[in-house]
Symmetry: C2
Subunit: 342 residues, 2 copies
């Protein structure tokens, strides 16, 4: 029974189980995939044989026949130096856990800088994955439209900004305007009136979205916004520079930032000026990164519900296999984690 090829004992096959249980291969296959087709005693006998041999279906064979690998492709974008943003990592954790519950595994592939589509293309042609989860919709939706043109099944974490209403694929996103508003309201509640915004460049649609949450909350309380906003690169250094400029020119008592990276830039400038975050100046970030959780005295930050997002994405993915309904978009609400910095 235990054939040995090289160093590795060959796992038992369906035929082995069938022989042991005294039934045909098809019956074993049914026992695994359609148990209710079998008579009770036959099922029990087959299951005992499966148990005894420790049988599991060979993935390659099953995948060849069914044209489905139960694998989901996820592109890992290149690491960006000088940022605190490890959102993708938390997302990967959440996704691995939830997709395992649904019987999927996550296949990672590198995001080559040159051709963003290369990795997708290879996996698609070789039918290595059943679907993709696309996370980099920030950059403009070139990947989405390419996948669509290839008729590849995928769901996106992030709105299709080009065409928010009539999306042709399911997506899940976080209502980040609401998140920024949450942070702003929180500071207003603490008594701040001159609350500055540090965000991303105008090209970044998500950045503009978040900024609108800040300005909406400010206007709702009739607070001034003029001269209190700046738009910079998403790095600690530029966050720090923006903070210096705003402190000198607009005298804010609080900062709402579009990312933890920028908020850390604020903390750096405060540190350099001997100002105490949370006492002299309040700061909030976005993403609830590890850095936000650990930096003294703790950075108040908007937390994206990545676990929920992952669950919704996997659910949408399963919907893809079925009938072609109109693709759905889901917007999840973030929460605010208050810490020492506010």
């Amino acid at each position: 029974m235990s054939r040995v090829i090289g160093r590795l004992a060959a796992p038992p096959t369906l035929a082995d189980v069938a022989e042991l249980a005294g039934v045909s291969r098809q019956t074993v296959s049914n026992a695994v995939n359609n148990p209710d087709l079998l008579r009770e005693d036959t099922l029990a006998r087959v299951q005992a044989a499966i148990e005894e041999l420790g049988y599991q279906p060979n993935r390659a064979a099953r995948s060849l026949r069914t044209r489905s690998s139960r694998l989901i492709g996820l592109r890992i974008p290149p690491v960006q130096e000088g940022t605190a943003n490890a959102l993708i990592d938390r997302f990967v954790h959440a996704l691995v856990d939830t997709s395992a519950d649904a019987g999927y595994h996550i296949l990672l592939f590198p995001g080559e800088a040159g051709d963003p589509v290369a990795g997708y293309d290879e996996l698609l042609r070789s039918t290595a994955v059943d679907a993709f989860i696309v996370t980099d919709t920030l950059q403009g939706d070139s990947v989405s439209s390419w996948l669509r043109s290839r008729r590849a099944p995928f769901v996106a974490f992030g709105r299709p900004w080009e065409n928010p209403e009539g999306a042709t694929h399911p997506w899940v996103d976080i209502d980040s305007a609401a998140g920024a508003a949450l942070a702003t309201e929180h500071l207003i509640e603490k008594g701040h009136t001159r609350i500055a915004w540090i965000g991303w460049r105008r090209e970044h649609l998500v950045g503009e979205e978040r900024r609108s949450g800040w300005s909406r909350a400010m206007h709702a309380h009739s607070l001034p916004t003029t001269g209190l906003a700046s738009r910079v690169e998403d790095t600690i250094a530029s966050g720090r520079a923006a903070t210096a400029a705003l402190l000198n020119e607009a005298a804010p008592t609080a900062f709402v930032c579009a990312s933890d990276t920028l908020a850390l830039g604020v903390l750096h400038e405060l540190h350099a000026r001997g100002l105490r975050p949370g006492e002299d100046i309040a700061v909030t970030g976005f993403d609830d990164s590890i850095a936000a959780q650990t930096v003294p005295p703790g950075l108040t930050s908007v937390r994206q519900p990545l676990e929920d997002a992952a669950a919704e994405l996997v659910k949408a993915l399963e919907g893809l296999q079925g009938p072609v309904g109109s693709p759905e978009g889901i917007l999840l609400q973030p929460t605010l984690v208050a810490r020492g910095s506010s």
Copy 2:
């Protein structure tokens, strides 16, 4: 030529290419796998056909026949709250990049808390992966020995502590004693003489390893170590508590920590006491995490060469497929990244 099944255009097969090029399937297969077996003009003709159809071998079929999936399994351990340690994430990035160069993809599976072996077992039985990379050798080597008993091919990131000399599998590790010594020497050079150690509990063999680097460097310069060491849990809270105790009782001017998490604990306590890191008290961490890179004024930390480690692991993995030599262990040297905290 473009058969359409459901919504997905079926990719071309080897037979399609053969027909277009006017050769047999075997010849196409050779063009892909053993190009030097073909005459030059035939090869060119086949390659043109491959190009035209955008052919890539079906992974499931190839995998079924060759019994090799070109996938590497990696277990993602559950996230630990209250820690700054996202070493695994940086490692995943490095591994995805280097393994892609070698033609492998990374398959992630969740580390269920209950049975650490469950995920491995499933993938092994279903022949889903060619090999594993094991990262959690800290916990005692139960996974390694289980994999060994199942004759599963794997390499470890981390020494086999039970049996460092006569390892039965290849491993790659970082010389973390040298790393701690590096940090200690750095502080001695800056003029510090009372340098405290905050490390992990004695059961953690890696922790003891790092501690020995500190004490060795101290002894080499005839500096005192008595009363200057403490061993605690790897959390920010306990790092902070240890700092408070050491400051009160032993009056150190610098702290060497076994992890960035502990070092952040030190920063928290300094912050609470109004002491300035890098000016009043020096601090070093371990792992060069994102938190270390971003916390003001920057945390000096020992950086593990994860990119090199990933490359060595993939190299070792390829060695596994070949003849059974004596498994090799590789020890890499870390570097020190000096920042504002020292």
